[in-house]
């Protein structure tokens, strides 16, 4: 059956700006940089509108490009996530209504201390609720690698959380 879908840039921007911004924010830990990356991703989308075939394709494309541009930005800046998060907490923090719980903030903070590949896999798994196969496609990596990154990332994050957040460990 023919699927007569026409991409509408402004609508895609409205629908996915939160997703793209959040992916960039969690990858970089810097609100300003995340906003810049999100802007660049949407402007890149504007140039690719003719090749976007469906809403699912648009979402997949945006996730893939947001992750890729965030990784590029991190490599360009060569800044460690922890430093950026300290800046975020001290300075241009999110609006009060956007702020997660202190535990959530701490977990986000700890997430930025994980290796980049593990962080990317965990963000896509737990922010975007994606399956390992979908993550593998978005990150252009083998499924087995993604599963391993998820497992190791979660284990490392849990170990860090156990040290920092006693409330996650039973009987602590």
């Amino acid at each position: 059956m023919a699927f007569d879908w026409q991409p509408d840039f402004e609508r895609l921007l409205d629908e996915h700006q939160s997703m793209v911004f959040s992916l960039a924010l969690r990858m970089t830990g810097d609100r300003g940089l995340a906003e810049e990356i999100a802007q660049d991703v949407f402007l890149e989308l504007d140039g690719h509108m003719g090749r976007i075939k469906s809403p699912e394709h648009a979402r997949f494309w945006l996730r893939q490009v947001a992750m890729s541009r965030s990784t590029d930005a991190l490599r360009r800046r060569k800044v460690r996530g922890m430093d950026l998060w300290v800046e975020l907490e001290d300075g241009h923090a999110a609006r009060a209504e956007e702020r997660p719980s202190p535990v959530g903030t701490r977990l986000e903070h700890l997430l930025t201390t994980l290796p980049e590949a593990q962080r990317a896999a965990l963000i896509l798994r737990y922010q975007e609720d994606m399956l390992p196969e979908e993550i593998a496609a978005a990150l252009d990596a083998p499924v087995a690698t993604v599963k391993s990154q998820l497992q190791r990332g979660l284990k490392l994050l849990r170990a860090k959380a156990t040290n920092h957040l006693r409330e996650f460990t039973r009987g602590a």
Binding site: L43, L107, F168
Partner: protein, 108 residues
């Protein structure tokens, strides 16, 4: 037990990683930058159209000028031919006239 603990941790992680709302300025800036990118494109097309128009006008003018020059050249050539023909005719008439005069003198 370990599995339950992990599930609880994963739930907490999922909650911590809920999408954050994008800053209100994001859409505005994207739309501004998009418009700025499109504006130069339209300017390029307008400049190209203006250039083509000027080239067409100059080309037309040049062609008209060359045509005029060619017409003038042809007119001049035709005039020269007429003048030559008139000169030849005049020369021939002079000769005829001279001969007639000589003939008249011989007849007297």
């Amino acid at each position: 037990m370990e599995h339950e603990e992990l599930d609880e941790f994963e739930r907490e992680l999922k909650q911590a990683l809920e999408r954050r709302p994008a800053p209100p300025s994001l859409k505005l800036r994207v739309m501004e930058r998009r418009a700025q990118r499109r504006h130069p494109q339209s300017m390029i097309w307008m400049r190209l159209a203006a250039t083509l128009l000027i080239v067409a006008l100059l080309g037309g003018g040049l062609r008209w000028g060359l045509q005029q020059r060619e017409e003038r050249r042809q007119g001049e050539e035709a005039r020269q031919q007429v003048m030559t023909a008139l000169r030849i005719t005049g020369h021939a008439l002079n000769r005829v006239s001279t001969r007639l005069a000589a003939h008249d003198r011989a007849g007297e």
